[in-house]
């Protein structure tokens, strides 16, 4: 049945809202409305997700046979490189910040727009330019270095279009930096009166932490890519030992960016899950300040753990000890979040609507993803598991089981706000179940494959690994279906869905106090700020 809380009057839609306030392509492509920019991003990243997902599907198909069912290793190598780069830089990193963040940050803090609306639009154009340059490199023949672009493979030996791909990623970094900057200033300066830091929704805390990482980490990858270009074009010896360089230096630079990048992908999703759990339980998130500060501490520690990608490079054993210990330290705040979300469900009013189902799915998959991270942070077991399918399974549990589940859950929770329409609940629950089941069937067997020793990035493999690979590929097809169904019913809902009304979930938070879809300037008058999760009859005290 429908998720709509029974309302006394039939839900209504405002006559004029941000979607119909203006017409024509100019009104979209030159808009400075954060809500419309969110849509621009939504279309772009959905396209990138489809391309990256199609590549994953082809890879899984190829791995059905030990000798490679579809293609030569050269093509397979290009596929997984493009899959990784597209998913990380053009789907996951922008997904929640630029779509849900853009749409919600100003509304959640009681502002009319972000601090720099034109810069916000510019970020989208930079993102599209970056995406176009990158896709150009893929169409011209692709890159075969892996998304990690390790040197000297990427600077001296790889024949693919390393430079154009690097230029694409280089440009995308600027989009992320500007978005991060915009969000930080917005959250600092644009909060409505009486909206103190500890009244902010946890989603804002998470995106604030993410923005800090954007601003600090993206310049590092930009510099690193520039160094690759220097060595590749002018043969300046930076990374290639034959030219007097140090190949391991690249890994230090890359992972100094790369590990915080991982938290760029997961932190926003954690923020979404806090909102999903609060709305799905109609309850203030348990241990609000612990959840808020865990986001900040994750962001801080994320800059100090890069060496755990390099335990086996010949890095000093003692450096390994330090990075291993710090990696365990970053696990603690993640665990705190999981415990607090679970505790929120205690004596709650737990809804079985799709957003809450995604939140529960996230908690389960992220728990597995996080715990299996301990195997890799452990120096001893990392020796055996490094660069095997165990690593592939681990980060997909975090990135797909975590980040994408959170993104989809958020899309379901705020879809009625973004469009003013409801999606078909039964189909959505079914798709959520498919995603959950398909996901586990795809990536669960890969943990075992990894412990058995199957290396990642293998286009062909010994026959004894086939059964687990076939299971994984079967799961991938279910997963693909699970992702396709929401695309269909969301499209249907945008045009034909029933009217949602301002607050179909009976949720708290400023976004639910304004009409769905919201008017262009969000609030006709400066909103009265209530505490983010003021579910109780009396206002709870805020720490």
């Amino acid at each position: 049945m429908s998720a709509v809380a029974v309302e006394v009057e039939a839900p209504t839609m405002p006559e004029v809202h941000y979607l119909n306030a203006d017409y024509g392509w100019r009104s979209w492509l030159f808009t400075t409305d954060h809500k419309r920019i969110a849509w621009l991003y939504l279309f772009a990243i959905t396209g990138f997700f489809a391309v990256g997902g199609l590549m994953a599907t082809l890879m899984r198909l190829n791995l059905v046979e030990p000798t490679g069912a579809l293609m030569e290793p050269a093509s397979y190598n290009k596929l997984f490189t493009a899959h990784g780069l597209i998913m990380i830089f053009f789907f996951l990193a922008p997904s929640i910040p630029t779509v849900l963040g853009n749409f919600l940050i100003p509304i959640m803090i009681g502002a009319r727009d972000v601090a720099f609306p034109k810069l916000n639009l510019l970020s989208w154009y930079i993102f599209m330019l970056a995406g176009s340059v990158f896709m150009f490199s893929v169409i011209r023949g692709g890159v075969d270095t892996g998304w990690t672009l390790y040197t000297p493979l990427s600077t001296t030996y790889a024949n693919g279009n390393v430079l154009s791909a690097a230029v694409g990623i280089f440009i995308s970094g600027f989009s992320s930096i500007l978005t991060g900057l915009n969000f930080m200033v917005t959250i600092h300066k644009m909060r409505a009166p009486r909206m103190t830091w500890f009244r902010l929704p946890l989603f804002i805390w998470a995106l604030y932490a993410t923005s800090v990482i954007f601003v600090l980490a993206m310049p590092v990858i930009a510099i690193t890519l520039a160094l690759i270009a220097l060595e590749r074009i002018f043969h300046v010896g930076i990374f290639d030992p034959a030219l007097g360089g140090d190949p391991i230096l690249f890994q230090h630079l890359f992972w100094f960016f790369g590990h915080p990048e991982v938290y760029i992908l997961i932190l926003p999703s954690m923020g979404v899950v806090s909102e999903l759990v609060a709305a799905g339980c109609r309850k203030r998130v348990f241990g609000y300040s612990f959840v808020a500060f865990s986001s900040v501490s994750i962001a801080a520690i994320s800059f100090m753990v890069w060496g755990h990608h390099m335990f086996l490079t010949g890095q000093s054993v003692y450096a390994g000890f330090v990075f291993s210990a710090l990696s365990f330290a970053v696990a603690i705040p993640s665990a705190i979040k999981v415990f607090n979300w679970t505790a929120t469900m205690h004596k709650a009013s737990v809804s079985y609507d799709t957003p809450m189902l995604y939140a529960i799915g996230f908690i389960g998959l992220f728990t597995i993803g996080g715990l299996t991270g301990l195997f890799l942070a452990s120096l001893g077991t990392d020796v055996h598991l490094h660069d095997t399918y165990f690593v592939v399974a681990h980060f997909h549990y975090v990135m797909v089981g975590g980040a994408i589940m959170g993104y989809l859950g958020g899309m379901h929770l705020w879809w009625p706000k973004m469009t003013g329409k409801l999606y078909p609940e039964a189909w959505a629950r079914f798709a959520c179940l498919l995603v959950f089941a398909g996901f586990n069937l795809t990536f669960g067997p890969q943990f075992i494959l990894g412990y058995l020793g199957m290396p990642r990035r293998y286009a062909v493999y010994p026959a004894e690994f086939q059964v687990l690979n076939v299971m994984s590929s079967a799961g991938a097809s279910i997963l693909a279906l699970g992702y396709l169904i929401p695309l269909i019913y969301f499209t249907w809902s945008a045009f034909k869905g029933p009217v949602a009304g301002p607050n179909p979930w009976g949720a708290k938070g400023l976004e639910w106090t304004i009409p769905s879809p919201p008017p262009t300037n969000n609030f006709d008058e400066t909103p009265v700020v209530e505490e983010a999760y003021a579910y109780g009859p009396e206002e709870a005290h805020v720490g």
Partner: protein
């Protein structure tokens, strides 16, 4: 072997130690994941929304609970850290008695040299129950020499020597994988470790008829490259002696003191650094020999006796 293995064969001393740590972590994962799942499901059912307008009682967090679930996981992490650091230390420290074998990675093959002379490609023959130390480098990109049955893996990096070691506990053939993506033929850069009994290994060594010890091949290179013109057995003024050099401390002009190990010898051949007391006269040999030849040259230099008397190596 039964039908559906969950772990690779345990074929080295380290594999057993590593598996205990792995079992512990797996049990921990199952326990905590199970705890979370059970709690989530229990709450989801017990506290399901029974009425569309239901609003549950509100309450704040609980400091004692927060501290509990911060401190307990932290303590468990400390335990895992200490245990895993111990295993890693073992895996990273070859026993001094280990037999050395040399590996050069190259797109896309493994080249192996035994000090006794035999050379192999994509295969490594070793005796059982004997610690083996691999000294590895790469001709081109970064590779990684991994043997799942030994729970052993280490990056093979151009421009430097990395080492790993193992002691096989059973005879048989085991997979060798390149675990670091190294370009087009990465997934074909696989090989076999053949573990033989001591008798079989001796027989195998003897069967490698044309194999000359690495130091002998190195001696020939020493002459071909003209090393012997300056580095004479008697020693020349202004030329640092090679006799007895290996393993000693060397003072560089940049103020550092380094041990004259394999890595130092390699650096000194390819890009000599000035040593205190000697003029920097030696030209670079970068680009004039491949990594296998460098290893042979080093084997020859290591074969020198104490200062003054250069043993003639047997042909």
């Amino acid at each position: 072997m039964y039908g559906f293995p969950l772990q690779p064969e345990q074929a080295s001393t380290l594999s057993v130690e590593m598996d205990y740590l792995y079992y512990f972590l797996t049990a921990l994962t199952i326990f905590f994941a199970g705890l979370i799942f059970a709690t989530v499901f229990y709450f989801a059912i017990k506290y399901r929304r029974r009425d569309k307008d239901e609003v549950p009682p509100q309450y704040e967090g609980n400091l004692k609970l927060e501290l509990t679930w911060t401190i307990i996981p932290s303590l468990i992490c400390v335990l895992i850290f200490v245990w895993s650091a111990h295993v890693f230390m073992r895996a990273s420290t070859p026993p001094p008695s280990a037999t050395e074998i040399f590996v050069v990675g190259k797109q896309w093959m493994w080249k192996v040299q035994h000090p006794e002379g035999p050379r192999e490609i994509n295969t490594l023959h070793v005796p059982v129950h004997e610690p083996i130390k691999l000294t590895m480098t790469s001709e081109d990109v970064i590779h990684d020499f991994g043997v799942p049955a030994f729970r052993m893996k280490r990056d093979v990096v151009p421009g430097m020597y990395s080492t790993e070691w193992f002691e096989a506990t059973k005879t048989g053939e085991f997979h060798l994988f390149c675990d670091q993506f190294c370009g087009m033929g990465h997934s074909h850069m696989v090989g076999t470790i053949v573990v033989l009994s001591h008798e079989d290994y001796a027989r195998w060594l003897a069967s490698q008829l044309n194999a000359k010890p690495m130091s002998v091949t190195g001696e020939r290179l020493f002459g071909q490259l003209g090393c012997n013109e300056c580095h004479t057995p008697e020693g020349k003024p202004g030329v640092p002696p090679l006799q007895g050099l290996y393993g000693t401390e060397v003072k560089l002009q940049n103020g550092k003191t380094v041990t004259a190990d394999d890595a130092y010898l390699r650096e000194s051949i390819l890009g000599p650094e000035a040593i205190v007391g000697y003029p920097p006269n030696m030209p670079t040999y970068q680009g004039q020999m491949n990594e296998e030849e460098v290893l042979q040259l080093i084997a020859y230099i290591k074969s020198f006796g104490p200062p003054g008397e250069r043993k003639a190596t047997k042909q």
